[in-house]
């Protein structure tokens, strides 16, 4: 979201009186080193561990692990899920943010809380609830069985579980942003006779696009990386219902450590690529 200090800001900071005092430098040094140490221990060292394990037997073995048919199927499934879930949750997020940020109504806090809820719900529960609904002994189990429709242990169940887990992210990004931006411009546009959709596309969207992009990136990252909830509803059928995270666990359990961490490193790479895209768009946006 925040793109860090801009050039003007930094020069402005530097030009302030007393900003170059010893105490200031000390605090600055301390904050940066604390951040770096904390992130190195907690975040960078596990990431390094993933990378070193992935390349432990050299580049060739690393590359070969992607040639496996089942690994390929897992990558495809994960991308399919992300491709369906991200647009759906984006549209939802925009609608929810519009409703919540632009209008005052009773029960709004409860609505926001309900949207937030999936973040706090244990992945185990997010899987369990769909089992209770669509499992053989669930509410719709018998009907589904009679009509030969598979929801859990097939793609629909995995979509639902992923959707549940990634549900809040776009809305959460947009709500505070739109609240802060206020209604004035939209109201002006409407008063001048613009349609609702036009107003949204021409007035609101340009203002919220960075938040929107970031929300989508988070949704995408979570959708591709979700393990717990999807694990409950997947059935773990090799080559059919294994997503990348589940396939990683399988490879790890088969003592194929290189393969497991190679797939994990691919997820990392995908995350970094999406974040790079974000940075590029932001940079262009700032210039344009």
């Amino acid at each position: 979201m925040s793109s860090g200090p801009s050039r003007q800001l930094l020069s402005e900071l530097a030009s302030r009186p007393g900003r170059n005092s010893l105490a200031d430098k000390l605090i600055r040094w301390m904050f940066i080193s604390l951040s770096v140490v904390f992130l190195s221990a907690l975040l960078i060292s596990p990431l390094m561990m993933v990378l070193t394990s992935a390349f432990a037997k050299g580049m060739a073995v690393y590359a070969r692990s992607f040639l496996d048919e089942d690994t390929f199927a897992a990558i495809k499934l994960t991308l399919t899920i992300a491709l369906i879930v991200v647009p759906l949750n984006t549209v939802f997020g925009i609608a929810a943010a519009w409703a919540i940020a632009k209008f005052e109504f009773r029960g709004k806090s409860i609505l926001i809380t309900a949207i937030d809820l999936p973040i706090a719900v244990s992945p185990i529960i997010s899987g369990l609830i769909y089992i209770l609904l669509f499992g053989s002994q669930g509410w719709f189990g018998l009907w589904l069985q009679e009509h030969d429709i598979s929801i859990i242990f097939a793609l629909p169940g995995m979509l639902l579980a992923t959707m549940f887990v990634t549900f809040p992210y776009v809305a959460r990004e947009l709500i505070p942003l739109m609240q802060q931006l206020g209604n004035d411009e939209e109201e002006a546009a409407i008063t001048m006779g613009a349609g609702g959709l036009m107003t949204f596309i021409r007035v609101t969207l340009p203002k919220i696009r960075w938040g929107l992009v970031y929300g989508m990136i988070l949704t995408n990252a979570r959708a591709m990386g979700e393990f717990g909830a999807v694990s409950v509803v997947s059935g773990h059928i090799r080559g059919l219902t294994n997503t990348m995270p589940l396939h990683i666990e399988i490879l790890y359990n088969e003592y194929d450590y290189v393969g497991a961490f190679a797939v994990a490193s691919l997820l990392m790479a995908l995350a970094i690529i999406t974040l790079l895209i974000k940075t590029v768009i932001e940079w262009r946006g700032l210039r344009g």
Partner: protein, 357 residues
């Protein structure tokens, strides 16, 4: 506008996804084998050979899909609707549950195939580090205060339940001088009760030596071999032999206890699924293949003990000699063992909730 677009998208997604149905045509057929963790390597080979044989015999292509996981959670998935044509699980209790709770196969499943529907057996052994530095030779060494034991959580792992019962049975065998008939002999009731107390204390001491209870058997192997935790891993014999082979750089060694439990992992056809999909014939042939000479040979290659006496003799040297007792000798049956030991509030829970006396 938004709503229509969205709803139709959702609908389309569902339609395309739901149609992943059960169509079987004559030319090709798909089977799903839902199994537990340590059989991955075995069934990879079995599936390949069987499909080849089936193609030669009938001209039909069969693709066999595999699903692996903890035995209990796999059984649960089948009950909840995972369309397994065959289940090949770690313990009879789990297939019983598919019958009882899911009504997906008949009560007589265990008698439909030879040898209690277990085409292969295994037992519980120890894996120690190179050179056996702690000098671990039998169950008694596991409760020494200087030994750390790695074993998975019996609450979540089928293999771990075999480990627990093997330790328990070992103590009973020692206390009753190997005479299992005393368990049902009223005259020996006092001796049996004393032996059960000894067994409970022994098992409690063993679990007090466990620094970690992993979720599944494979996770425990990884903890022991990769993380370097513990001095001894209690494991399936086939798992131990496989780990020694796969992780040969680690110099792991197998130690066979003097006596252990005969583990009989059963296989069965899921009636409701094969009848719906029309795959009964091929599913039956698939399970029968496990009993064939070729199948038994594969079983032995993957470190399971084959049932076929001739194949077993050939591979005798690969399996350590261990005195084996069965679950029915010592614990009656799985239902009883589960209720007494592993249910909430059972004897396993007591180890942790009742303070050490």
């Amino acid at each position: 506008m938004l709503r229509t677009v969205c709803l139709s998208l959702l609908f389309l997604a569902f339609l395309s996804a739901c149609s992943a149905g059960t169509a079987t045509d004559v030319k090709s057929v798909q089977l799903l084998n839902v199994s537990y963790d340590p059989t991955r390597e075995l069934y990879r080979d079995v599936n390949e050979r069987f499909s080849k044989q089936w193609l030669d015999k009938t001209g039909q292509h069969v693709s066999i899909k595999q699903s692996h996981g903890g035995s209990g959670s796999q059984a649960r998935a089948v009950i909840e609707g995972l369309r397994a044509d065959v289940v090949t699980l770690a313990l009879g209790y789990d297939i019983d549950a598919i019958h009882k709770r899911g009504k997906k196969l008949g009560a007589d499943w265990q008698t439909r195939l030879p040898d209690n529907s277990s085409p292969y057996t295994s037992t519980i052994v120890f894996l120690v580090r190179k050179g056996n530095p702690k000098g671990i030779h039998d169950w008694d060494d596991l409760i020494r205060s200087d030994v750390k034991v790695v074993t998975p959580n019996p609450k979540t792992s089928g293999g771990a339940r075999w480990n627990y019962l093997a330790a328990w049975g070992y103590v009973l065998e020692r206390e009753l001088q190997g005479d299992w008939s005393k368990l049902s002999d009223p005259a020996a009731a006092g001796q049996v009760a004393a032996a059960q107390i000894k067994a409970e204390q022994f098992v409690a001491a063993l679990y007090r030596n466990a620094p970690v209870l992993d979720r599944a058997a494979r996770a425990a192997t990884n903890t022991f071999a990769q993380r370097g935790i513990g001095d001894v891993l209690i494991a399936w014999e086939n798992e131990a032999l496989l780990a020694i082979k796969e992780l040969d750089g680690q110099g792991l060694e197998l130690v066979a206890p003097s006596s252990s439990i005969l583990a009989e992992p059963p296989v069965a056809i899921v009636d409701t699924v094969v009848d719906r999909k029309g795959t009964r014939q091929i599913a039956e042939a698939y399970l029968q293949y496990l009993y064939s000479d070729a199948g038994q040979e594969l079983v032995a290659e993957h470190h399971f003990r084959p049932r076929n006496a001739a194949v077993m003799t050939q591979h005798q040297s690969e399996f350590p000699a261990i005195r084996l007792f069965t679950i029915s000798q010592v614990f009656g049956n799985w239902q009883q063992a589960q209720a007494e030991h592993f249910a909430d509030g059972g004897r396993f829970d007591h180890i942790y909730t009742v303070p050490k006396s």
